[in-house]
């Protein structure tokens, strides 16, 4: 009962913050609501008993991605204030399409499919298993991800640097 109540509160918080992200005129305040929304998602991961992913979410999304976004907003200043409309010409159709897609998804989730749920507990050594899986069975995706990060790092530096001419 308590878990359900916590989940509903966190879900409402996350969804409200996400709505403010896409609706608020001021981009900087949008970014702050994005950080709050990331926190809510991290709490949802904790409720799913994926503690490692929750910590990774806080470290990577809030510590790195949100900081990058705030930096980018400040470097492209003048875009923060709502001098012109923050929305483009197709916003009405986008909203309509999004609502229809959302209703369709919720209908499928709630009524159409019987999910094959098993009542099992997460093993106590889940994080140890994850670690040995990352250097064992899933070592190729792990290494590919590290090469991807290196490529993104070099690419981002090359794209964003000042050309010295």
């Amino acid at each position: 009962m308590v878990l359900q109540a916590i989940f509903i509160l966190v879900a409402l918080f996350t969804i409200g913050c996400a709505l403010m992200v896409v609706l608020h005129r001021n981009l900087f305040i949008s970014a702050l609501f994005l950080i709050a929304s990331f926190f809510g998602v991290a709490v949802i991961y904790v409720l799913l008993e994926a503690e490692f992913i929750a910590v990774a979410q806080i470290l990577i999304y809030i510590g790195a991605i949100a900081t990058l976004i705030v930096f980018a907003i400040m470097l492209s200043r003048g875009m923060m204030t709502g001098r012109t409309s923050p929305r483009n010409a197709q916003a009405l159709w986008a909203g309509l399409g999004s609502v229809i897609l959302g209703i369709a998804l919720l209908y499928v989730v709630a009524y159409r499919v019987q999910w094959p749920v098993v009542q099992k507990d997460v093993p106590a050594d889940a994080i140890a298993r994850l670690g040995s899986a990352l250097v064992g069975r899933y070592v190729i995706p792990f290494e590919v991800a590290s090469v991807l990060l290196l490529a993104a790092l070099i690419g981002a530096v090359m794209i964003a640097r000042e050309k010295e001419v």
Binding site: L3, Q4, A11, T14, I15, A18, V21, V22, A31, L34, S37, F38, V41, I44, Y45, L48, E49, A50, F52, I53, A56, Q57, I60, Y61, L68, I69, L75, M79, T84, S85, P86, R87, N88, Q90, G95, S98, G102, L106, V109, A110, W115, V118, K120, V122, A126, R129, L130, A133, L134, Y138, P141, F142, L148, L149, A151, A152, A156, V157, I159, E162
Partner: protein, 102 residues
């Protein structure tokens, strides 16, 4: 125990909100924020299915970590592109970026 469909519903709503943000905002950084919301929704879905179908198999966790990694790489390169774009055109509004328009 919290039903699986609650997690899926939250994930669906979050995904749709991010989708709306991507389609409706003019500022490229706001579009990137919408994409991050969508990736978060996907991760909630992945972890919910991991928890409720195969909690003893670490594949779901590995998958979520890969998604977070790709999201970080994508955010870094995307924001670098927007900064380069701002230097070039002093705008990051995508409807004013029409260099390739014939």
């Amino acid at each position: 125990m919290i039903p699986l469909s609650w997690f899926l519903a939250v994930s669906a709503i979050l995904f749709v909100i991010g989708f709306f943000g991507v389609l409706s905002r003019r500022n490229a950084i706001a579009i990137l924020m919408g994409i991050e919301l969508m990736l978060n929704a996907v991760n909630i879905n992945v972890l919910a299915f991991w928890r409720y179908t195969q909690p003893e198999n670490p594949a779901g966790l590995v998958w979520a970590i890969i998604v977070i990694t790709v999201a970080a790489a994508e955010a870094a390169v995307g924001l670098a592109l927007f900064i380069a774009l701002y230097r070039l055109r002093t705008t990051v509004n995508i409807d004013e970026v029409d260099l390739l328009k014939g």
